[in-house]
Subunit: 471 residues, 2 copies
Amino acid sequence: MARASDESVALASVEDLEDLALRDDYALNPAYVEMVVDAADRSDTKRLRELIDALHPADIADLMGFLSSTYREELIPLLSPDDFAEVLSELEGSIREDILENVDPARLAAALGEMDSDDAADVVDDLEDDKKGAVLAAMSDVDRASIETALAYEDETAGRLMQREVMAAPQFWTVGQTIDHVRAAGDELPELFFDIYVVDPANKPLGAVAVSRLLQAKPDALLSAVMEPVTEIPVDMDQEEVAYIFDKYHLISAPVVEPGGRLVGQITVDDIVGVIQDESEEDMLALAGVSDPGRGASILDITRSRFWWLLINLGTAILASGVIAVYQGSIAKLAALAVLNPIAASMGGNAGTQTLTVAVRALATKELNAANILMTVWREVAVGLLNGVAFFVVIGAITFFWFHDPAMALVAGLAMIINLFAAAVAGILLPLALDKMGFDPAASSVVFLTTVTDCVGYFSFLGLATLIILR
Amino acid sequence: MARASDESVALASVEDLEDLALRDDYALNPAYVEMVVDAADRSDTKRLRELIDALHPADIADLMGFLSSTYREELIPLLSPDDFAEVLSELEGSIREDILENVDPARLAAALGEMDSDDAADVVDDLEDDKKGAVLAAMSDVDRASIETALAYEDETAGRLMQREVMAAPQFWTVGQTIDHVRAAGDELPELFFDIYVVDPANKPLGAVAVSRLLQAKPDALLSAVMEPVTEIPVDMDQEEVAYIFDKYHLISAPVVEPGGRLVGQITVDDIVGVIQDESEEDMLALAGVSDPGRGASILDITRSRFWWLLINLGTAILASGVIAVYQGSIAKLAALAVLNPIAASMGGNAGTQTLTVAVRALATKELNAANILMTVWREVAVGLLNGVAFFVVIGAITFFWFHDPAMALVAGLAMIINLFAAAVAGILLPLALDKMGFDPAASSVVFLTTVTDCVGYFSFLGLATLIILR
């Protein structure tokens, strides 16, 4: 999209700005980001306000990610408390922390009062300790209590994810009674809800009625007659488990219960969408040995966080070099060995990563467990052996034409079979073992895997060459 | 969990079976799978029916994934049309295709009639052509027409994802009128809905009212007064874009419109959860050069699908070996070079994968675009250089203590700086370039990356060694 000139933009109405703001794929338009930067450079507050007003809070949060800290500071005061609250809930870690450091406690307290209890607790949790006290003190007693309750649950559990506001009704109410109650009730109901939980006198959930079903049911029917079974979420359940349940049963909302079974809140699917994004992203980044720096992270932070993974990998690379060192004498006699040496190791690394990634994913989606573990291991090993045989032929032929040496071709081919077999065994057993021991199979298995495939690759090729060619 | 003996299980009530069926983490209990297998082996239909009846259709679908084809064939006839429909919607690709091959067209037609139009179209799309005709012929005209309409949209677009059943009301209706309409309406409404779309006389969406808000609004208020803005989804939008919009704006449902703007259906968030899972999984698997075989895939299919990626990687490994071959003479003079040679290449591969993975993820979440591209490239290159300097020191020291040769230490260190720099440049520019050219940056960038890091790694180490040590 061509960048609009300042003149034409100054004439644009709010609708035009809204059209300009997003590209066809609903991502923020880079040209719009530039317009914001230009206005900020000119300290044109009126213009900045127009530009911000044309954006949905989710897009303002997105915009913050594209701006440097000084520009962000200019925008924050222009947001209404409502918008500021929504932007804060949407922002990613490092940028939010940066904004929270500089914001006035009273302004923040007002914004927190506008948020759902789960989002507010998340924000408060990000505050420095001294600031946390000031902000909590500036809040109303009710808001503070609800945030403190939420913070009492551990991070990444159902208790943190849930909102305390729910619509619950006793089992002996009729549909008509319930509708009247909803009409009369005001602020204590959630802003938006999809299910009405039917509870017994001890406040334990018995079932749920979708709001659209409530509308269609006969007014004199009892809730207990129209309700459907619910899946209860224990308050201390890990959010990854919660996401699994929502995905499996296609839930829109679910009641959260205390250990005794009492209803304490609800989780809605829109919170789960974020969790699912985060969890699969985590696995993907963990496999590459990297964490999400966030757009606000400094170069030094990123360098440091990646250094450790690279250092561990250096250790394994040196270990593998130790294997080559054992056969230094063979290489001195026949330098061609050094040329072909990395091939089997590299192929093993790739084949093992294929197996490993499929296993990590199957573990995450619970498609791999005791019921099919033997079958899965056998399948991977068989695939490794079959591809080993296939590449015995391919690399054997290539080596023969390259070096005109049948013994060298045989060695390269055998090393390939051995290493693709080892890669399959390591690729499937490592994540299973790590998972069994309670570790995250995505986080550490690649290091172990490449250690195996490098060492076995070098050892089998150089060892066989020493035995067969140099004997 | 200890496996229950057959006697105790025979006495168990349906509630007990339900408790047995799932583990604490809501995954299917392996012991339960074995109970099903035992009953099937004994051809105990009564027992099988009890075991199946205790399961949610989503869990029956999960169970199918753990069973071999012959056991699955025994279970299918025991399912009610309703359950069969739900199980079919839940099943993964290869297993579903296997079941569809053997099922009676009339039975399948009945099940399809029970499904949402999007799920039914998906199933029909999986049928062999001759079977497709027979099944469609066995369906009612209305059901057939709705499936044919859905199939007219391309796979993985909003049109395929949407359900045609929507609750829409004209802008001039009051809240009370709308509620009365919902009450009176029967089958033409969706089974479950969360938003009522407000449309103009041309059936174009103007806004939406959440059902819970409708309940709370004054009965004589006009819909146009209580509605909120909606985000319209074009019918030909890619499902990945749809998922992005749902995630960004926390949508529960959204109207789908034709090119002219007319409302043709709706997408609900529970369909999106599956899309998000699939899309991030696709990226993760693509980075490892592997596709999801599904639990039903044969060993030969898997071997074949992985073979091609490995073959491409063999090509790049041989290319890199060609670089070593150039320096065969140097290695013949000093075999120690072959020992250290793989280290810089391996580190470059790891560092490049870190950069690449972060970039692929940022592109997928649209956090990386023209507005911050220069900053991001600079950041990655700076991180690469800083870690290059850090590992210059580390590997330099290690090499010095290992080989007692300062020149060798210098060469190993310099090769590390050069390769970590090259890895950063390739790791960030490759996915950006592939994305710009319209390719999936997750699918092919790893091959290019390792080609760069292997070749640059070998070339810099052996080249510098030849210049500095062997001159």
